[in-house]
């Protein structure tokens, strides 16, 4: 599909003017000799491949490791724009944690009728096993990756909250590292806020949520499903950068009431586990008994206050696409303030009026599965064929409660490097947020995902999207 010409471009105003955050960069870019960028592009790819920064694609042969294409042109955000964004994100993340604590304890928001009981009761991400329990610091989502899109100078929308296990932060770090290697001179010309403290902050943030029973320096481990998982690179990268052990379920046991890892010198207690496996597989004694990835008994150890699990099990109930539509209410209920960041207008197909509207306007809407992620099972109305629309309408009628619909947003574009020079492509942004009893820390920048095909709005890496370094300027 072709985007409407009126979409917002983050670099250009009109035909030749450049928006101020891009001033210095554009001047530098225009000074570069022809051919330098194409060469650097190849260098960057070789660098990624050698380092092994790859991801596995679901549904493909296990051994298939792919690179996410990296574009060398940074996405630039001014310090002023960032401040507003980060205030909005912080507010939202606070509200999400308060919401989770409430939902798993007193459920005041349900009693107040601000969120329908059914939305929680029928939500597969709601884990009854979390009821009547408060995790250390009352923190549920320690690590958040809020997906944000922009449609205008001052128009930022939250697209998804990603409160359970946001991925991609390793790309944020590697992208910056690559840019520093490729264009060191740029960083002396333009003052960009650093992202490199993220692993240190992550470690600190996790350590600060260690359970009370932990005395001494908390031992942190990253729990991965293993080397064939699509995000394994990121798991090992984060463990490495934090100086934490990278463990799998079969490395762990319950020992002396704690979770302990098998080392060459016997079992060693873990205080905080940053788990990158889904709730369902976390504890075969509590959830899916067939899970080979999990740690039996970890939920009991958790409830006994002997380990911190980050993010907390059952956090998914807050980042569900059906809950999403209630986020403005949720923010207001727990913070007493209006939400700073906007929500995209969302039609809940489970409601009869909405379903009718969605079916009538399917060609203009984006329809998503309530529990889906990664762009799978989603319909982009304006890009779909008649047959695709008809097929999807059948799915909608069969299980309306499984879908929400949103207007097709005119996502902002930023330039990418193509053969002919710079060309605009649609982007989104995932900043990374850390929550601990010491406060909320948002790394300035984040992961910019870009739809590499002209006009495309799908930025997911599993569907041909690429990434960019994201600069927040010191201004």
């Amino acid at each position: 599909m072709n985007t409407k010409p009126e979409h917002f471009d983050e670099m250009r105003v009109g035909d030749d003017a450049v928006r101020s955050p891009y001033d210095s960069y554009k001047r530098w870019f225009d000074e570069q000799p022809a051919g330098r960028f194409a060469r650097k592009s190849k260098e960057a790819e070789a660098f990624f491949r050698r380092t092994g920064i790859t991801f596995n694609v679901y549904g493909q042969v296990a051994a298939q490791e792919r690179l996410i294409p990296f574009d060398l042109v940074p996405r630039i955000i001014s310090g002023r724009e960032w401040n507003k964004l980060s205030r909005g994100i912080e507010q939202r993340v606070r509200a999400i944690n308060a919401f989770l604590h409430d939902i798993y304890n007193r459920q005041e928001i349900l009693k107040a009728g601000r969120v329908p009981v059914d939305l929680i009761a029928r939500n597969e991400a709601f884990l009854p096993q979390m009821m009547g329990f408060s995790p250390p610091g009352n923190i549920y989502t320690h690590i958040v990756g809020t997906d944000i899109v922009r449609t205008g100078e001052d128009d930022f929308f939250v697209l998804e909250d990603n409160a359970r296990t946001p991925s991609g932060v390793s790309y944020m770090l590697e992208n910056r590292e690559t840019m520093l290697q490729m264009f060191p001179e740029l960083f002396s010309r333009i003052k960009v806020q650093p992202v490199s403290d993220y692993p240190k902050n992550l470690r600190r943030s996790l350590a600060a949520t260690a359970p009370q029973s932990c005395n001494g320096k908390p031992v942190i481990a990253v729990l991965t499903p293993g080397i064939y998982n699509s995000a394994y690179y990121e798991h090992s990268f984060l463990a490495d950068q934090m100086g934490a052990e990278l463990v799998e379920g079969h490395d762990l046991r319950v020992v002396d009431g704690h979770i302990a890892m098998r080392t060459t010198r016997g079992y060693k207690q873990i205080d905080v586990i940053y788990r990158r496996i889904d709730d369902e597989y976390l504890d075969p004694l509590t959830f899916n008994p067939k899970s080979m990835l999990g740690v039996p008994g970890i939920m009991d150890v958790y409830r006994a206050g002997n380990i911190t699990i980050a993010n907390a099990p059952g956090t998914g109930v807050a980042d569900d696409k059906a809950i999403y539509s209630y986020m403005p209410d949720i923010v207001e209920f727990y913070t007493g303030e209006k939400a700073i960041l906007k929500n995209v207008e969302t039609h809940r197909c489970g409601e009869a009026d909405s379903l009718k509207y969605v079916l009538d306007n399917l060609a203009d809407l984006v329809v998503k599965e309530v529990h889906g992620s990664g762009g799978y099972g989603m319909l982009v109305g304006p890009a779909a064929s008649k047959k695709e629309l008809a097929d999807f309408a059948d799915k909608l009628r069969a299980r309306p409660g499984n879908y929400i619909a949103q207007p097709t947003l005119s996502l902002s574009t930023v330039p990418i490097f193509v053969k002919k020079g710079l060309a605009p492509r649609h982007v989104d942004l995932r900043p990374y947020v850390l929550v601990s009893p010491e406060g909320i820390n948002i790394t300035p920048g984040g992961l910019t995902r870009v739809a590499l095909t002209e006009g495309s709005l799908v930025v997911n890496s599993s569907q041909g999207g690429g990434t960019k370094d994201t600069w927040v300027l010191e201004d």
Binding site: R49, R50, T51, I227, L246, T264
Partner: protein, 313 residues
């Protein structure tokens, strides 16, 4: 360190060592096939036997031609010990233990794997074989170089070294065992060209043919070749050298962890068995029996290390 990580390091380096040894075996076989006019299939058969994969080979191929054997040992994905397979396993293990490796070591292993994928994509022409084997060997050397040049001398390094030398001892012992009859003084015809070729092959398979000549201490006789491969502490692929290095690294572990295990006593005993012997007493005992015993003890040592350092549940 996680027990799993120790196991991953141990196996990663066993696989890397195996790749190198397999390449050497193929090279020796290729050489003997080139230099001998008559049918070389028995030579290729002994190469496959030495690699320890003869049974599986026979399921796939009826005869031992150069092309089949080379293909099977270098690039067959069904052969878990082919160079392709072991480099892949080494890299999988490297991924598993990535947090324990320096960037240099990881990159070297990853490069190795990417190189092998390209190098072994298509069947290898005989004319191209020397270059291919050369690349395999130099890739191994790059990993080893990165290990020596960048890794801390701690338990991580120790497990890497132990894996390397247990594998090496096993490979060399099997080379000796497959050819042991040519090394027996009683059955060899001293100075015959047949024996010279056989001994040369053996020495080549452990990259020791030039070293042997350089040492120039003895004539090339069955017992001098056997002594060199088993008992010479100067040769980095001799059994005694491998054992000595394994014992050293096990001792570093005991020091670092403040604890000795059954594997330490077992390894000490194995080293003692080599050091206290001369080649005559080994021939008196029976070379085959001696080597078979060594292979068995070496396997047992691997299992003890695996247990004592909790590689698995």
């Amino acid at each position: 360190m996680l027990g799993k990580t120790a196991g991953g390091l141990f196996w990663m380096f066993r696989f890397l060592e195996r790749a190198e040894n397999t390449a050497r075996l193929v090279e020796a076989g290729f050489r003997i096939a080139l230099t001998r006019s008559q049918d070389s299939s028995s030579e290729w058969e002994s190469v496959v036997t030495t690699a320890g994969v003869c049974d599986h080979y026979r399921k796939k191929h009826n005869d031992f031609t150069a092309a089949n054997v080379i293909d099977y040992l270098l690039r067959d994905k069904d052969n878990a010990s082919s160079v392709y397979s072991v480099i892949k396993s080494a890299r999988d293990n490297a991924r598993l233990v990535r947090t324990a490796l320096t960037v240099e070591v990881w990159t070297a292993v990853n490069d190795n794997w990417m190189t092998m994928q390209e190098l072994l994509k298509r069947p290898i022409k005989e004319t191209d074989l020397p270059r291919v084997l050369d690349v395999i060997r130099s890739q191994s050397a790059l990993v080893r170089g990165a290990l020596h040049g960048t890794m801390l001398r701690n338990d991580i390094y120790d497990f890497a070294r132990i894996g390397t030398f247990i594998e090496r001892a096993d490979n060399v012992a099997r080379i000796i065992d497959v050819k042991y009859y040519t090394l027996l003084p009683s059955t060899s015809f001293v100075g015959s060209s047949l024996d010279n070729v056989q001994w040369e092959t053996i020495l080549r398979s452990v990259s020791a043919h030039r070293a042997f000549r350089w040492l120039d201490e003895e004539d090339m006789t069955a017992s001098s070749v056997a002594r060199f491969l088993i008992l010479d502490p100067r040769l980095p692929r001799s059994l005694v050298f491998s054992m000595k290095t394994t014992v050293e690294n096990l001792n570093y572990l005991a020091e670092e962890y403040g604890e000795r295990h059954a594997c330490h006593d077992h390894a000490d005993q194995m080293l003692k068995n080599l050091r206290e012997r001369d080649i005559k007493s080994i021939f008196d005992e029976g070379l085959h029996e001696f080597i078979t015993g060594f292979i068995h003890d070496n396997n047992a040592l691997g299992l003890l290390i695996e247990r004592d350092y909790k590689f698995y549940n």
